[in-house]
């Protein structure tokens, strides 16, 4: 029997295309039970949810630390995102069919946390002098940030709905073809996250041309997903998959670009204790990676959805 750790290693190596537990890099892997397409898609969504939650965990921990945890509620996203990571890992290693009540509970809680957080952040903006002004949108609690934990919850929740389909059946979510639902919701989520990046990059006056990437690539990815959501199923869409993979890579590259942004502040990385907070947030860009992974899951579901 392979240990959980080995299974984890192997399955991460599979990436989004890996349906079969093939051995790579010399790792011995045991067969994952019930390796149906439904479970594969659900696990992809768990990975998407986990990636977004990881971004939220580090980002909210840093930003709320900067805010001195002045309000006890500022611990909420840290706890919720940590739980979301936990259940996402659980879902990722879980090869069984059927939604898991604990995962469902955490994902729903994450979704609600984001909503409540958004309300808190809006309150934070409006209570400041000038109210709903650019000054406060730029520098008060970021309106769009809490939505990220909701998106983690949403992706995880969708994963559970997909997983809840019986093996061999056509995967449905709320009575609609799962691939289409996931594609549409992921597209919308990408647009929301773009708005957040757009606002903050506008605050930075797009001083570096690379700052245009997260306001151009994700909307195009969203458009491709929306097209896939309403277009024909059973199509491979290699260009769309490629674009989403590139968007996922952009989220990772964003960390490096933000690291460069940190270095552009006075003292650079030598002054990391200050500049990690003054500069662009390192953990923010992988939110796009998480959403792009969900988009890839949606496209895979649509390819597999032969009955449409």
């Amino acid at each position: 029997m392979a240990t959980t750790r080995e299974r984890l290693k192997a399955s991460f190596l599979l990436g989004f295309r890996g349906e079969a537990p093939v051995a790579r890099g010399g790792y011995e892997t045991a067969p994952i039970p019930s390796k149906t397409e439904i479970v594969t898609a659900a696990r992809r969504l768990n990975r998407a949810a986990g990636t977004i939650a990881a971004s939220v965990l580090v980002d909210s921990a840093m930003e709320h630390y900067r805010g001195d945890f002045r309000n006890k509620a500022m611990w909420t996203p840290i706890v919720t995102s940590a739980l979301s990571i936990g259940v996402s890992v659980h879902g990722h290693v879980d090869g069984r069919h059927g939604a898991h009540p604990l995962r469902d509970t955490v994902y729903v809680a994450a979704g609600l946390t984001g909503l409540v957080g958004t309300a808190f952040h809006i309150y934070n903006v409006t209570k400041k002098v000038g109210g709903f002004s650019w000054q406060n949108l730029f520098y008060s609690a970021p309106i769009g940030a809490p939505a990220a934990i909701s998106l983690s919850g949403l992706m995880g929740f969708l994963g559970e709905r997909v997983r809840d389909n019986k093996p061999g059946t056509r995967p449905m979510v709320a009575g609609l073809p799962a691939g289409r639902v996931v594609a549409a919701l992921t597209g919308a989520s990408l647009l929301g996250t773009t708005a957040e990046a757009g606002l903050l990059h506008f605050r930075g006056a797009f001083h570096n041309p690379a700052m245009l990437l997260p306001v151009t690539m994700p909307p195009a990815a969203a458009a491709l997903l929306v097209y896939a959501a309403v277009g024909p199923a059973g199509v491979a869409r290699p260009a769309s998959r490629g674009w989403l993979a590139a968007t996922a890579a952009m989220g990772i590259a964003g960390v490096a670009l933000h690291a460069y942004g940190v270095s552009r502040n006075m003292g650079g990385w030598r002054n990391w204790r200050q500049n990690l907070f003054a500069g662009p947030p390192l953990p923010a860009p992988p939110s796009f990676t998480g959403l792009a992974l969900a988009g890839l899951a949606a496209l895979a579901l649509l390819v597999d959805d032969k009955d449409d």
Partner: protein
């Protein structure tokens, strides 16, 4: 290795300090004194520094002189108010009149970059009507340049200086978006905003010449503002957009030569009556640089002083002075304040001192006096705050100690107000000599009735605004002034002005004056942006005149 910027010139041997990198140099083209350069520019601040860059970029040969040292901000500047007094022009001067002007940090600079090295970076446009104050508003004098033309050059200046400002400016005609976004308001800025809202007038984030995001410009790489709060004592990070970090590096890259620690004492004129060059003091001796054109950009005290000190047989009253106006119509700006204590800590020292502004009283004409004013949030550092306590309140001993303990709770707003031109307010030469053996400036100043009415109005309005947000123990600082202007005014009639709209002197066609001295009126806003804007226009005009063979 650190060298003393005062002990010997740094810009020489074909290189000048690279202000953006520790210990680094940039190459500098050098001219022989026997070379007749196209332009000798006296002063390297908002007027001279700007012009040096723009003229060199047009291909003119340029030597720009500054009496002060060539500082390396990353290495030479300390977070210490007293140490940073080295940035100011504190040479001997005589002040008199009913309201003598206190000369120093608020109205002078002695450094490459001039007073922009320590300015508060407030970058405002004049109200359009202020350019035609006489015909539109019935006071002062008209500028010879239309506001529309100034608006065009303001656009260019804001872009090239890379101002950080609000997305929508509440007053005046539409202007383009500022290149960078406004900075985050500090406690003092937020309270100014609250105070304005409490009395029903507009406020906005102040357009500031300091970066709100990193910049890689043609001049070099700058980090964004670190909100250290020492802006008025020299920015150690180069986030500040001063002549030292914007124009001088561009000037050097375009082939201009900078001569630091070089005090110009006299402009020479030849048999034709044209200027032939400048006498300057550097490294213990006097030198002469030949030039086809001379630009004087020493600000409103040193510019008239140099013109008057350059008197010769042909021009016994000083150069460019056939109108008799050189040195006259000196204007400062009223800089009174109201201060009070809040119940909660404010910590006004964080960030640039003037992050929020109301310009309401520049645009509202429903007043029984001429002119306008703004007020800005404040963040005096402890030394300055102590001097306000002793000066404005007369506190000393235990009372002063107690008052200083409230430092973190204090707020204040300070005006920048228009003072009207008056020929009796003037710069003349005293018989006293300075360390170079040159006659020092005598500065005579008295407030007029209109000035006093404007100040009284401002104090009343500012007092209301901070009272409305719960400031307690409110007190007034009634005697303070800052920026200067007017001692070589521009105009469209040679009988009533010293230079024309192109900053070219009426009397000597190759003698130019390009700094705050040329302002016919000072408007109700900080002048630095307007000075740089005038320099941008002058550079364009010089290019056009040269192309037409009219230089």
């Amino acid at each position: 290795m650190l060298s003393n910027p005062f002990s010997a010139p740094r810009a020489r041997h074909g290189r000048a300090p690279d202000v953006f990198r520790h210990g680094a140099w940039v190459s500098m083209r050098e001219h022989r004194e026997t070379d007749e350069v196209d332009f000798a520019i006296v002063g390297t601040g908002a007027g001279g520094g700007t012009l040096a860059a723009l003229l060199a970029e047009q291909g003119f040969s340029v030597v720009a002189f500054d009496a002060g040292p060539y500082f390396r901000p990353l290495e030479d500047f300390a977070s210490d108010e007293s140490e940073q007094n080295k940035l100011y022009w504190t040479d001997r001067r005589v002040v008199d009149g009913a309201n003598p002007i206190q000369m120093g940090g608020k109205n002078s600079g002695k450094a490459v970059g001039g007073s922009t090295v320590h300015y508060a970076m407030v970058s405002l446009r004049f109200r359009p009507e202020h350019f035609s104050a006489r015909t539109s508003l019935g006071y002062g004098a008209d500028w010879p340049i239309s506001w529309q033309e100034m608006w065009h050059y303001y656009d260019l200046a804001e872009k090239q200086i890379n101002i950080s400002g609000p997305l929508t400016y509440p007053w005046g005609p539409k202007r383009p978006r500022y290149p960078y976004r406004a900075h985050e308001l500090n406690g003092a800025g937020k309270l100014l905003a609250k105070g304005c809202e409490a009395i029903g007038i507009n406020w906005t984030e102040t357009p500031l010449a300091t970066l709100s995001a990193p910049l890689s410009g043609p001049e070099g790489k700058s980090p964004p503002c670190a909100y250290r709060g020492f802006c008025r004592f020299g920015c150690t990070t180069n986030a500040k957009r001063s002549a030292l970090t914007v124009w001088i590096p561009r000037a050097l890259a375009a082939g201009a030569e900078i001569r630091d620690l070089a005090m110009v004492g006299r402009i020479e004129t030849g048999p034709s009556g044209r200027a032939t060059g400048v006498h300057y003091h550097r490294e213990g001796e006097w030198h002469f640089q030949r030039a086809k054109n001379v630009v004087v950009a020493g600000y409103a005290i040193e510019t008239p002083r140099l013109l008057l000190n350059s008197a010769d047989q042909r021009y016994p009253d000083g150069l460019a002075n056939s109108s008799g106006l050189v040195g006259k119509n000196l204007m400062t700006q009223s800089n009174q304040a109201v201060w009070g204590r809040m119940d909660e800590p404010v910590r006004w020292y964080k960030g640039p001192p003037s992050l929020a502004i109301t310009e309401h009283w520049n645009y509202d004409d429903n007043k029984d006096f001429h002119g306008g004013y703004i007020w800005l949030g404040q963040g005096p550092l402890p030394n300055e705050w102590a001097s306000i306590q002793t000066g404005a309140r007369g506190l000393w001993g235990q009372k002063l100690r107690d008052a200083m303990l409230d430092y973190n709770y204090m707020i204040g707003v300070k005006m920048v107000g228009e003072m009207l031109p008056n020929e009796a307010n003037r710069v003349t030469l005293s018989d006293d000599l300075d360390q170079y053996g040159l006659k020092v400036a005598k500065i005579t100043y008295a407030w007029g009735d209109n000035d006093k009415a404007l100040i009284a109005h401002a104090l009343e309005q500012m007092g209301r605004s901070i009272e409305a947000i719960g400031a307690k123990g409110i007190f007034l600082q009634e005697d303070d002034t800052n920026h200067l202007g007017g001692t070589a005014r521009m105009g469209s009639d040679r009988r009533t002005s010293v230079v024309d709209a192109d900053c070219r002197s009426w009397d000597i066609p190759n003698l130019w004056i390009c700094d705050g001295s040329v302002f016919p009126t000072v408007g109700g806003v900080n002048p630095a942006l307007t000075t740089q804007t005038i320099a941008l226009r002058t550079a364009d005009r010089i290019g056009q005149l040269a192309a037409a063979g009219e230089l």
